[in-house]
């Protein structure tokens, strides 16, 4: 079965090349060459994944992402300008599943798309197979893997897909050190590349959204050179 991909980029020639590259890999590619058309397309049709350029005429990629996320959970891979970390951070915070600096190697693009698809498929198939979705409760945080919801002290916390997966891994191993590599596999569906800080960014936004301390104790502790540990309160 062909996976449907929507590429939103104003560079028409690039879109054609990407389509040409992706089709033999088993993807059917639709193209939108501006932001509004991209949003329209993304919401009107069902796509396995959306590849979205940040720099778009009219409304920019972030705005497109925000409008898509308001109504749809379709995975989004952002194409960012290389070196612009801010783009990356903003994109991930708005709920992008991964990012790829532009210009990119098309092999890398395919690998990222497949990693994201594998992960989202796992989630959907897992929730379909497992009859009783697991609920993880650590301290004041309650995470439901089936409904993909997180409650802190009874209040719902909005997390992006990648943040949710990161948190799920840490809660499952609460009290033990989880390596950055492990988190990358879980949250991004791919091994950690050198110089890749996306895991750290997810952890820092988790700290912000959940509160960096619980009862005076650091919620997520950095273990220098290794990874992170979600601390369990001693009285529990």
């Amino acid at each position: 079965m062909m996976e449907r991909v929507l590429v939103v980029d104003d560079d028409v020639e690039l879109c054609e090349l990407v389509a040409e590259y992706l089709e033999p890999e088993g993807f059917s590619v639709d193209v939108a060459d501006d932001g509004l058309a991209g949003v329209e397309r993304a919401l009107a049709d069902t796509y396995a994944i959306i590849v979205l350029d940040v720099m778009l005429p009219g409304i920019n990629g972030f705005e497109v992402l925000r409008r898509i996320r308001a109504k749809s959970r379709t995975p989004v891979l952002m194409l960012t300008a290389r070196g612009a970390d801010v783009d990356r951070i903003v994109g991930l915070e708005l709920g992008a599943d991964d990012y790829l600096p532009k210009p990119f190697n098309p092999r890398e693009l395919v690998a990222r798309i497949q990693a994201i698809l594998r992960r989202t498929r796992d989630i959907t198939s897992a929730s379909a197979v497992i009859s009783s979705p697991e609920t993880l409760i650590v301290g004041d945080v309650r995470l439901n893997t089936g409904a993909r919801t997180v409650l802190r002290g009874g209040e719902s916390v909005e997390l992006t897909a990648a943040e949710f997966d990161t948190l799920a891994v840490m809660l499952a191993k609460a009290g033990r050190v989880v390596s950055r590599e492990e988190l990358a596999e879980a949250a991004l569906g791919r091994p950690l590349a050198p110089l890749d800080r996306s895991v750290d960014m997810h952890v820092s936004s988790l700290r912000r959204k959940l509160g960096s301390e619980v009862g005076g104790v650091e919620r997520i502790k950095t273990v220098r050179g290794t990874g992170y540990v979600y601390l369990v309160m001693s009285d529990e």
Binding site: L17, E20, V86, P103, F104, P106
Partner: protein
Amino acid sequence: MSLFTKIFLWFWLALGLVGTVLVLAVAATQSETDEAHWRDVTGTAVRVYAQTAADTYENAGTDALVIYLQRVEQTARMRTRIFDERGAEVSGRDATIEARRLADVARQTGDDAEPVFDFSSRVAQVTLVAQPVYGRGGTRYVLVSEVTRKRPAPLFAEPGAWLLRLVAVLLTAGLVCYGLARYLTSPMETLRAGVRRLASGDLSTRVSAQVGTRRDEIADLSRDFDRMAERIESLVRSQRRLLGDISHELRSPLARLSVALGLARRHAGDEAPNMTSALNRIERESERLNELIGQLLTLTRLETDEDELQKTQLDLQELVRQVAADADFEAQGRNRSVRVMASEECSFPGSAELMRSAIENVVRNAVRYTAENTSVEVSLRCSSVDGNSRIRISVRDCGKGVSEAALTEIFRPFYRLAEARDRQTGGTGLGLAIAERAVRLHGGTMHAANASDGGDGLVVEIQLPA
């Protein structure tokens, strides 16, 4: 000597001199007029007394004369004697030798119009005045009065008072000159500070608002300065923007090239193995081009967006460790390594992105130049000197080092060493320039020095204020 001091001292000197001379001149004329006036009044009075005394004596005799003279002494407070032609006291009372002598002098030399004054009395504050007159019978009398009066003071008789006057003059002059010098030179100071700020890179410097609402040459100069600064700023800005725009526009064809390369690779497939090395080469070169553009964009961003530095408290120890680990991973592939030799607990407020890129660029540069099978040594130290602590991150490679002259030049964008090894080693020529700007944005400095511990190598040090 500063312009302020010069203006102040010269004007002060000039005003002080003029003031002093003026005071002296006024004082001199003043005392002269006073003296003349006194002589005039006293002379007139004595002349009247003398004539009346002579008439009284001739008309009414000695007793009446004595009574008259006593009345004069009481009302005018002048001891008065009258002498006849032979020098005898007419009223029959005693007279001082000084009075007699003056009477003799006056009889021989004086005339009716002018009295003779004698200021030489031994008794202080007494002046003798002699007035010769003729009686009706033509007899010549001389009236001598002892007038109590301060002797006319010589010009510098009271040094205290004069000193006071002088000080007052100098003080006033000083005050005025200080104001004048300030008024003239303070806008100069403002201008100078502005020029310095501009020279140190703050192109938004403007001065005419600070110089104020003057309408003179200095105000004109400051307006001209502003126009110049504006022009420089717009030139530099447009040049930077151009650089940024070019870099950005190069990205699109490069992105297409990259995908097209992937397609070419696929089409070549296994049937054309001889294509592979050429394609690899194309990929490497486009990757290099891409890195160069990325660095250029980073550099232009660092040069233009100076104000939006998002600072957080950074754990430098962890940052250095991560950068070193990443660089080591890459260096191992080329038979080189990166080692952290010393590291201390160290916290610093800064932009994580920029500090990382600064340290990374320095370390990668070192990896590029260090000889095969050697290590790049990284150390992080926090030292506290005189209460202000400093953070030093030093990166040492085991390469050939650079010439003394090049030590400061290597932070310039696209600076190429004479040996021109950069191209072979794959550098963009921007790494250290980016690092230097990033560090400078954090208020730090960067230096390079050849290794002094024996052995070749370059030590690049980042210094940050803690």
